[in-house]
Symmetry: C2
Subunit: 157 residues, 2 copies
DNA sequence: CTATAGTAGTTGCATTTGCAACTACTATAG
DNA sequence: CTATAGTAGTTGCAAATGCAACTACTATAG
């Protein structure tokens, strides 16, 4: 009557679901990156930050909050925002209420770039992912995915 | 009667499915990496290569084939295998039939490490992903994922 | 056989990331 | 107010990755 951690045995379905998930997502992301580069645009991570800024009130966020939204360590946020600033895509400013805080604010140039990158991004995702499912299926798919998220959110709570 | 690329508008479900997929997978991978590190083991990419070797005939593969299996550019394969060799986890040898080819062959030490890493890896995936679904759901999930893969395979054909 | 194109793998250089230590500020305890 | 702990952001150094140029070999064309 043993039952130690021979949990090590996975069924075919389990393996395929996990490996499939990893490989499929990697492939999709690689494809997006590839197309962005081909079009002469910067990395997806730049897009992510620009997008978060654009969807925020005032087009600005504190570096710390950017880090949470795009899941990036703080030192990487510092540097990414630095690069964005060098390209004139965002501007930085001190937080008036918290002396430690730094705001990044998207510029017009940043907004324009994001919009152009979106053309490429959205096309890849539509043609390689969204188009594979009809409305009902996509809904189910989203529900499946949400279950993983659920545990993530409660983790950080 | 216009209909240019204002494909740019996504439904809520589309957005959530895509963003959810990306974030969920990123979270899962981060979690695996975190636990591996916490346990004092190397990166997931090391595991991937060791696993591919171990599941191959003779425990060996050509660098080129490793690259295809784990989706890594050739220069990264060279270096990753170099690191694995430095740690005594694989050994390298010339391919007898193709003078350009190099084989990497997993060592006993490599097999042992992979097995130990698997303990950690499998636990994270089970507790954060697999456990969210029953048999039937997992099956459906896999089928959803496979559709993305389908296009990937035909790409490289 | 010779020339030419293609493939496998490596390497130098620049960029990006991870880690740990650091500064500067805020929050809490006394 | 002072001390102490915690948070936001930065930076130096090491490791990893991307890119392009390179070597060495194989495959094809003539």
């Amino acid at each position: 009557m043993k039952k130690k951690s021979d949990s090590a045995k996975w069924s075919e379905t389990e393996t395929q679901a996990w490996i499939g998930l990893v490989k499929a997502q990697q492939h999709l992301i690689d494809k997006v990156e590839e197309e962005l580069k081909k079009a002469g645009y910067p990395q997806l991570s730049w897009y992510d930050v620009l997008w978060e800024l654009e969807s925020s009130k005032d087009g600005s966020l504190r570096l710390n909050d950017i880090g949470k939204k795009v899941i990036l360590d703080k030192y990487n946020v510092t540097r990414l925002v630095q690069r964005l600033e060098n390209e004139g895509l965002v501007s930085r400013s001190q937080c008036p209420v918290d002396g430690r805080g730094i705001f990044a604010c998207i510029t017009d140039k940043g907004r324009k770039l994001r919009r152009r990158m979106w053309q490429v991004y959205e096309k890849v995702v539509r043609e390689n992912f969204l188009c594979k499912y009809n409305k009902k299926e996509l809904h189910e798919f989203r529900n499946f995915i949400e279950r993983i998220q659920a545990s993530r959110l409660s983790d950080s709570a």
